[in-house]
């Protein structure tokens, strides 16, 4: 249920796996590639890399934290690596809970924690260079 994958994320399959009779709410968060624009350039794609298996373990840790905080009956997180084109999903989080409140809160918590503790890095590849997000190091602006 906690996976780091190289190819497209099958969000539909993740959601259908979360459907269960004890839960009245499924919350789904999908992070997608946004095309930012600045200085006459634009983002062409994002590229992700991970430290494995630590990244897999930390995703599972996020899941365990969620189960400790809310009454959730199903938690699945998938993060994609490699190139992710505009509009495509880089991360999907699916949480099922008896009620909507915990489902919403837990999925929000999951994406924030992923951005804090999971060793995955995003490189924005622009039409005029690239930037490692978080480090702000790259070839853009080095002109």
């Amino acid at each position: 249920m906690f996976r780091v994958v190289e190819g497209e994320i099958n969000v539909a399959a993740m959601i259908s796996s979360a459907q269960r009779p004890d839960s009245g709410a499924i919350s789904t968060f999908i992070g997608t590639t946004r095309v930012d624009e600045s200085d006459g350039a634009s983002v062409e794609y994002l590229e992700y890399e991970a430290y494995r298996p630590m990244a897999d373990e930390k995703l599972a840790e996020v899941g365990a934290e969620i189960r400790g905080k809310w009454d959730v009956r199903h938690v699945a997180i998938t993060h994609r690596l490699g190139k992710v084109a505009p509009g495509e999903a880089s991360v999907a989080i699916v949480v099922a809970s008896p009620r909507r409140g915990p489902a919403f809160e837990a999925s929000r918590y999951a994406i924030e924690r992923i951005k804090e503790i999971v060793p995955i890095w995003k490189r924005e590849v622009w039409s005029d260079g690239y930037v490692w997000v978080g480090s702000q190091i790259g070839t853009r602006g080095a002109k």
């Binding site: 992070g31 992700y48 890399e49 991970a50 430290y51 298996p53 630590m54 990244a55 373990e57 993060h79 880089s90 991360v91 994406i111 992923i114 951005k115 804090e116 503790i117 999971v118 060793p119 995955i120 890095w121 995003k122 490189r123 490692w132 997000v133 978080g134 480090s135 190091i137 790259g138």
Partner: protein, 85 residues
Amino acid sequence: MSGGKNVKVLLFGAAADLAGKREIGVSVAADSSLDELWEAVVVEYPRLSPMRQTLAFAVNGEYAEKGAKVSPGDEVAFLPPVSGG
């Protein structure tokens, strides 16, 4: 101790970029600290130096503080600020 490279250091993201390598072999003594290992690496890869304040470290797949011990055979990772999602 043979004096050969006995710790594998993995670099990711911007750190790999700056060092021009994704993996470095380092030789450490039995009771070295992560800080000492870092100093040894920076001598060889000075472009990493500005990352000192932002890098996190892992020893054998778990986050570790700068004072943590590093032993021959360990796997160390230099982790720039994570940016998944």
